[in-house]
């Protein structure tokens, strides 16, 4: 399990390990933009709106949908939903579908959810400035019991 991270960092990692992925946008619970690799927020919102329209139209055909791929000759559109959050991405033509889905899910789950479902930790890569996530609390160390008997014998 990956430690929760900032959306911008998670998306940068995703596009680094999966070069087929071109554009990515994440929607927090409630539909607010959670992060993207677009230089401007408007384009990211356009991708999320389109992904939402795709999901709604697809759900009329197939209820309880978790993910979809719409493949065209110009490229593919991927939408993955995890609970209330959603990640949408465009790829080059003929992507490795299984890998892209896996990477998108991993990216979405690694993003620390913004408090209240807003875009609190959101940021596009062009902005660069994002709020530092609070580091996860480390488990308390347990002290090993003293070896009194062993020490006495020695």
């Amino acid at each position: 399990m990956l430690a929760p991270m900032d959306a911008t960092q998670a998306i940068a990692d995703l596009t680094e390990i999966s070069p087929q992925v071109r554009r990515v946008a994440v929607a927090e619970a409630g539909g607010a933009l959670g992060g993207s690799n677009f230089p401007d927020e408007e384009a990211a919102k356009r991708l999320l709106d389109g992904a939402q329209r795709l999901l709604e139209a697809a759900e009329e055909l197939r209820p309880e949908l978790t993910q979809l791929e719409a493949a065209t000759t110009a490229g593919s559109v991927f939408v993955v939903r995890d609970g209330d959050r959603l990640i949408a991405a465009t790829t080059s033509p003929e992507p490795t579908v299984g890998l892209v889905f896996y990477d998108l899910k991993t990216c979405l789950r690694s993003i620390d959810p913004a408090p209240g479902g807003g875009a609190g930790k959101a940021g596009t890569s062009a902005e660069g400035g994002s709020v530092e996530p609070t580091p996860p609390k480390k488990p308390a160390r347990r002290r090993a019991p003293k070896k009194e008997a062993a020490d006495g014998e020695a």
């Binding site: 055909l61 978790t66 110009a74 465009t90």
Partner: protein, 67 residues
Amino acid sequence: MARRKVITGVLLAAGSVAGSLLVRRRAARKQAHVDLYGADGTMHSFTEGTPEAERLLPIANDLLATL
């Protein structure tokens, strides 16, 4: 001699069948389609030309054209 000709003919026929299958498979991969994955692990695929795909593909095409 005749037996050799028959074997050659069979091999040629098998090769052309295998080649056409490969070409058709590649063409099918390039065809526009929509794959829907359900929470229960099922997948439904709709290829270009079906009413389902005709409803979803224009949205994807719009997105890819504008982004």
